[in-house]
Amino acid sequence: MTKTFARAAAVGAAALLLASCGERPDEGAGATPGATGGAAEEKFSACMVLDVGGVDDRSFNQSSWAGLQAAQKANPDIEISHVPSTDDAAYVPNLQAQVSKGCNTVIAVGGLMTDAVEEVATANPDQQFAQIDAAPAADNVYGMQFNTAEGGFLAGYLSAGMTKTGKVGTWGGLNIPPVTAYMDGFWEGVQHHNKEKGTDVQVLGWDETTQQGSFSEDFLDQAKGRSITETLISQGADIVLPVAGQSGLGAGAAAEAAKAEGKDVKLIWVDTDGCESAAQYCPFFLTSVTKNLSGAVEEYTTAAAGGEFPEGQYLGTLENEGTGIAPFHEFDSQVPAELKADLDKVKAGIIDGSITITSQSQPKE
């Protein structure tokens, strides 16, 4: 036992020795961080306040931070930092800390922070802020919202063209506009296909006219997501769009179970390309309705670092690629060329206004 340990220690020490024999890089290695950090340089500092869940939540915190990282990569003069929130009470001091640190702009991630952003932004009128998923809370706040109903519309149209059972389904995490915008868009997309192509595809799990449908009341619990999806499948849906964060992963398990029974069920992921963020279920993802958080953050930061603070608010649409649908990946060969062409036409129609989306849940301009 002791010998084994000694041997392991010797190997470890040797490895450490080898690793420590590198060369000292020439430039400024001896300089202390205190010396460089203290001097005010010509750098633009973009600071982020994250919502609860941490920077690696595989969801909106992570996507937003990825946007800042991308901005820094493109422009090394941008300094970035972030602070995560532990609870509601942390929003104000977190924003405050970033302000007093002397950040050029402070980006608040998430609509729940609106009260805190308003409070801190009003108290610091000379400080530039940005907030994701909210309309501007004060004059010095740039709002970033996403009209995911437009992306959902394309997904609905696609589903109506791809279904074999004539039934498609969707369900959400909570009955709130950021969620139901996707579902409204999906519902309208299916209706549009029915009207244009004379089909009679039904939407299970959501009805825009009554605003009633299936919800897991949760964004984390995968078991609930699975049981809702299984219910929709048993009612005949062969394409399902879950809009519920981590809870939506339960749909993947449900699709796997359905496959074992010989049913062909496809899923549509939301926010990010599912084949990247939830790759284990990629064989089931027909496409994903995207919400381009990283792109919006990167664009804002780059513009702000260039000396121009964008004013008002950003609304992610099909036109500016703030929302849309992801590639079809494994289903690419199965989607008929005609349907792909139709989707391009529908997209163009939404952009030029010849197709209007009536969802009440769309963020306002």
């Binding site: 024999c21 000292r24 009470a89 977190n94 108290a123």
Partner: protein
């Protein structure tokens, strides 16, 4: 004989203080190693350790000094922020704001501990308190003073109900409080999640999972103004600590609580109604945690979201352990942890060391205290035995 015993007791007490102090020092030392390992410049310097060994230590030293200085700036005093009295007081104010719910929830856990009950349910009780206080705060329309009072009482009752239920289940059916409190935490959290989707509780236009805003008449007044968040909840926490001290050391019900905690069988033989005492203890514990939730909503956030309780209910357990289940100790521990939480933001913002380090520090402190033998070995000092075994007993009974 008597003097001898007094000396032993005194030595035990100084020993406890020494262990606590050394535990904090030990945790900071381990934390320093973690900071150094996490620091990119230190790692780079370690890559050529054998050509310039000093570089590694300089870089590591700078990283640690920078992080801990920022922690201190965020928690106590920041010499760079002395533009006004308020700016200079902000770190202390933040420390106290963070400490307030920790004092209350820590007392909740400590009180249950002293009765021999392990209250893991402070989290759920905080949530219930927050729900009740918030609902009274925005749904009712009452004059100044009365509104706040009612919201506080409602929050306390909500928590007391949630805690009392555990005591009742324990007394009537023998259900273990660890299991029932954990389960009730889940129920409370999901109840909150449900309410945040219900019109009437959820804030219009129903865009976010956030409650309506509490009326100004039900908000806890701010103590300092000038944009500082310090609110009246701090005084409530101080009163609660004094009340808990009086209850445990000077009152008959408190004696019953301690008797049941020391030995339930002996207490029963002595004629104490053990079941009723357990219900009382858990209701009091729940009430304190409920008050913690109320002060968060009425004093700090003004509304409720799914993460209103954060990790306060669980941090409270470490606060009670560090405070050795005495009210004064809980206050001290809550101030320390409140300061760490307040400083953590500054630390991550300025030096990039993740706030999670503070969670590690808290855990290390408690770990060192729970194992005094470790402190004795590491620091080669003699301390009174028993601190750790007391903690262990507190949990086991």
């Amino acid at each position: 004989m008597t003097t001898e015993r007094a000396t032993t007791a005194r030595r035990g007490r100084t020993g406890e203080w020494l262990v606590t102090l050394l535990a904090v020092v030990g945790a900071l030392l381990v934390g320093a190693v973690l900071i150094a390992i996490g620091d990119e410049r230190t790692r780079t310097a370690a890559g050529y350790f054998f050509s310039y060994p000093l570089d590694t230590f300089t870089e590591a030293g700078w990283a640690v000094v920078e992080a801990y200085t920022a922690l201190f700036h965020g928690a106590v005093f920041n010499p760079a922020q002395t533009g006004s009295v308020w700016a200079a007081l902000r770190p202390l104010s933040e420390t106290l704001v963070n400490a307030t719910p920790l004092v209350l929830a820590g007392l909740s856990v400590a009180l249950a501990f002293r009765t021999g009950l392990f209250n893991i349910g402070a989290q759920g009780q905080i949530i219930l308190g927050a729900i009740c206080a918030a609902w009274i705060g925005f749904a009712l329309d009452l004059p100044v003073g009365l509104h706040l009072l009612l919201a506080l009482v409602g929050g306390i009752l909500g928590g007391a109900l949630w805690g009392g239920l555990v005591g009742w289940l324990k007394a009537r059916t023998g259900a273990h409080e660890v299991i029932t409190t954990i389960m009730l935490n889940y129920i409370a959290l999901n109840l909150l999640g449900f309410l945040l989707g219900v019109p009437g509780f959820q804030r219009p236009p129903y865009g976010q999972a956030i409650s309506e805003t509490v009326d100004p008449t039900a908000r806890l007044p701010l103590l300092l103004g000038g944009g500082l968040r310090l609110h009246l909840g701090l005084l409530l926490a101080a009163l609660a600590a004094a009340g808990a001290w009086w209850l445990l050391t000077r009152s008959t019900p408190g004696f019953r609580l301690r008797a049941v905690g020391a030995n339930p069988d002996a207490a029963r033989t002595a004629g104490i109604n053990v079941g009723r005492t357990q219900v009382l203890a858990m209701a009091l514990a729940g009430g304190l945690a409920g008050l913690a939730g109320s002060t968060q909503v009425l004093g700090v956030t003004g509304s409720v979201t799914g993460s209103v309780a954060g990790t306060i209910g669980f941090d409270a357990i470490t606060v009670a352990l560090l405070g050795r289940n005495s009210p004064a100790g809980v206050v001290g521990a809550a101030l320390l942890f409140g300061g760490l939480r307040a400083g953590a933001v500054q630390m991550q913002s300025v030096s990039g060391v993740p706030v999670d380090l503070v969670g590690v520090l808290q855990a290390l402190i408690v770990l060192f205290i729970a194992a005094p033998a470790l402190v004795r070995t590491v620091f080669r000092v003699r301390t009174g035995a028993g601190a750790g075994s007391q903690l262990a007993l507190g949990g086991a009974r």
